[in-house]
């Protein structure tokens, strides 16, 4: 059996959690586009923060 690359599972788990956070923010906000702009703004802000963290790509810090 081939040996997996280091941190394969840890990176997978980390990204899965981050992706779920964005899905959750977006899916929670969508039904409130017309009636709760603050909630939508918060979801967009949260998504920007999570996606910004992933875009920064500081893998070593994520897996500490």
């Amino acid at each position: 059996m081939v040996t997996a690359a280091p941190h394969t599972v840890e990176l997978d788990d980390y990204l899965r959690d981050m992706i779920r956070a964005v899905y959750s923010a977006v899916d929670t906000a969508r039904p409130h586009l017309a009636d709760d702009p603050k909630r939508v703004d918060q979801a967009i802000e949260d998504s920007e923060e999570v996606l910004g963290t992933i875009m920064a790509g500081k893998v070593d810090e994520w897996l500490e």
């Binding site: 059996m1 081939v2 992706i19 964005v22």
Partner: protein, 239 residues
Amino acid sequence: MAFAEKIELKDFDKMDQEYKDLLSRIITIQSDCEIGGPHLYVEHILPTAPTKAFQLVVARTAAEEIDHFRKMARMAGDIGTDVSHVLRWSNQERYVEAFRTHITTWEGFAVFGFLVDRVGKYQLDEFLDCSYVPLDRAVRTMLPEEDGHIDFGTNATAEMALKGGESKERAQKAVNYWYVKSLDMFGNSGGYRSERFREWGIKRRSNAQAREEYIAEVNPLIAKMGLEIPDPIEGRLYL
């Protein structure tokens, strides 16, 4: 006669070194393309999309593409290939030239979905029923999301074209930019590696064949929007 066996992770170590190298290479490049998309548009388009609903679409789209990266990265890691370096890469370091830029306009984001995500679907389609079963399984979960990105981009581009005037001009400019990039994404028509991928059952079509099928699909869509089909040769890097 192309390789017709089906390979699971447990069989990977027994495979010929050429197969291992080709599979590792293609999963690495696919990983880079999946994370390359969000790197093009999250920074500029998420904060500036025309409506809050569209901002949520951009966030969801980026998260889905990152999830595609995650699946590819896991598959690469499982066969001993670490692709985490592409998370740190700047856009200028990407394997595929189309991703070495930034999208700064809404029409750019829309046309990217219309044309480039459609190439992404062609690339994923290549792996359906391929010899490496985990790859086949993964792309089947990714394709419906890619269809969603393509539909959004196609509809948004069509709406901009339908408005006419400056809106249509902006859509045409974005189509002109991304059309040749899209055609280049299929790679060289006569590449040696393209033939080896098919020999090992990793891909189904040659680069040239996939590009021709893409052109046959996308040109009528551009024409139906009332936009001009760009020159398929001018500005191309790979023929």
